[in-house]
């Protein structure tokens, strides 16, 4: 009983921080996806230079732990701006650095999952589009993308949920999202009630992840008639 009261109490303390979590996550998901799309395109392009650049980028970023990424962005970027553009961005809201770091981190796996989804679509679809006079981009956008989207969705959801949980990164430079808030609550209670705090945190995330799953199922269901998968 006490526990439940405590959890509800902590829920109340954590929920205001959901703003930060959502702002940070949504911006980096959107920006990261766009960057990921460009990377996937570069990987499949005819240009050797683009291909190599994209490969190296993805390899390096995928291998970079988030804490290192945030330090690189938080300390490296102001230095670059100072030296190259002679602008001081030290005073930026720290959230911007978080968003940049997460965007970069998200783009690499996203590019791979987009590439794999794209390659699972029959080449005949592109050819048919070209042969009715659409440009490659139009065909991609109108024919390939909707089909690849459904294939990419479960993996995309994986990445999104992982990103939502990247609280460690935000917190490293003192931006207080829900995970950071939870840690601070525990700390301010001298380390007590950790259970109840994390329980509250897990609950919130679970609800978010359920919502993501629901979205995925809805899209998949609406698409079921259009493909013949091994599903019954």
């Amino acid at each position: 009983m006490d526990n439940i009261k405590l959890i509800i109490n902590f829920l109340g303390q954590l929920l205001p921080a959901i703003n930060i979590t959502l702002i940070v996550s949504l911006s980096s998901i959107i920006l990261g996806s766009l960057l990921g799309l460009l990377l996937a395109a570069a990987k499949m392009s005819e240009s050797v230079v683009l291909r190599v650049l994209a490969r190296v980028y993805v390899s390096v970023i995928r291998a970079t732990p988030s804490i290192i990424m945030i330090f690189v962005v938080y300390y490296g970027m102001p230095m670059l701006f100072n030296n190259w553009f002679h602008t001081n961005i030290d005073g930026w809201n720290r959230m911007y650095f978080v968003i940049i770091a997460l965007t970069v981190l998200f783009s690499a796996p996203a590019s791979e999952l987009f590439r794999s989804a794209h390659e699972s679509i029959s080449k005949g679809q592109m050819e048919a589009g070209l042969m009715v006079g659409m440009t490659p981009f139009q065909t991609f956008y109108r024919i390939i993308l909707p089909q690849a989207f459904v294939v990419a969705l479960p993996n995309f959801a994986n990445s999104v949920v992982n990103l939502l949980k990247e609280g460690a990164l935000t917190f490293t430079i003192g931006v207080v999202d829900m995970v950071a808030k939870a840690q601070m609550i525990v700390a301010n209670n001298s380390g007590g009630y950790a259970w109840q705090t994390y329980c509250a945190l897990a609950l919130i995330y679970w609800v978010i992840s359920l919502a993501v799953d629901k979205g995925v199922s809805l899209v998949e269901k609406s698409y079921q008639a259009k493909r013949k998968t091994i599903a019954v």
Partner: protein
């Protein structure tokens, strides 16, 4: 150097009327030493002392930045922050990387949480070492880790020192009670808040666990290597604050006792 901030670290502008801005980084998860209070402001003993120092130094204006332990250290080293506080103990190695001031600004009451019945067996560094007690792993960023490592360098038998990332304190208390470990390196205010207070999170362990003070450890703010001038100004200011009794007052406020007195006793 990396991200060095010219405007804040140059050494001459001290005389001008515009006070120089000093960025003070504090870790947000070290209650009651450094933390963020309900008003989202920096708080805790270390922060309060820094505010006192700010008052003494009109040529500087302190700007407080709450962040993680890691960032305090890396930020101060790189010069992003001029000074950092997070219950830092002095070691010779650290003094190579950072600028430690001459004068300490606080004392940490450090001790072991042990089972009451095993108080005599494990309640002290030498006792724990001799009886081969198991110590709850300590986060290496934490100053306590260095204390034990230091002890092990100078003494025999040695304490079995394990490391683990920051963990949940109340669980460590349970572990000691259950016998998973024999001692837990902690600070007094934590033990008081969790176990001794009537509605503390672990009040149920009140009779079963005991806190044994090992002694007081001096704590310092950490300066960026380029901040010699500022550190010197600090050294003057902190002397005044301690001598005036203001520091003891703050210690009473945040730790419930005057930790400075602990320095008179030997470290057990």
């Amino acid at each position: 150097g990396l991200g060095s901030n010219k405007s804040a670290s140059s050494n001459k502008a001290a005389s001008s009327d515009k006070p120089k801005v000093i960025k003070v980084a504090y870790a947000t998860t070290n209650f009651p030493i450094t933390y963020q209070n309900d008003k989202k402001q920096g708080d805790g003993y270390d922060v309060a002392i820094m505010r006192e120092i700010d008052k003494q130094l009109p040529q500087y204006k302190f700007d407080y930045v709450g962040t993680s332990d890691d960032d305090v250290l890396i930020g101060v080293k790189s010069g992003k922050y001029q000074v950092g506080v997070k219950n830092i103990f002095y070691t010779a190695d650290r003094a190579k990387t950072y600028l430690f001031p001459k004068n300490y600004f606080g004392v940490s009451d450090s001790g072991f949480v042990v089972r009451t019945k095993d108080k005599d067996k494990f309640g002290g560094l030498a006792k724990l070492a001799k009886n081969k007690g198991k110590l709850v792993p300590i986060a290496p960023q934490n100053g306590q880790y260095a204390v034990i490592a230091d002890y092990n360098k100078k003494n025999d038998p040695k304490i079995d020192l394990g490391s683990a990332d920051t963990f949940v304190v109340s669980d460590a208390l349970k572990w000691v009670n259950e016998g998973r470990y024999d001692a837990f390196f902690a600070i007094r205010p934590m033990f008081e808040a969790l176990v001794e207070k009537k509605n503390g999170a672990n009040a149920d362990l009140k009779d079963k666990l005991t806190y044994v003070t090992l002694g007081g450890i001096k704590t310092y703010p950490l300066f960026n290597k380029d901040q010699k001038e500022f550190a010197a100004a600090y050294d003057k200011a902190i002397k005044k604050i301690i001598n005036s009794g203001k520091a003891s007052e703050l210690s009473e406020k945040y730790f419930g006792q005057d930790n400075f007195k602990l320095l008179d006793q030997p470290f057990k």
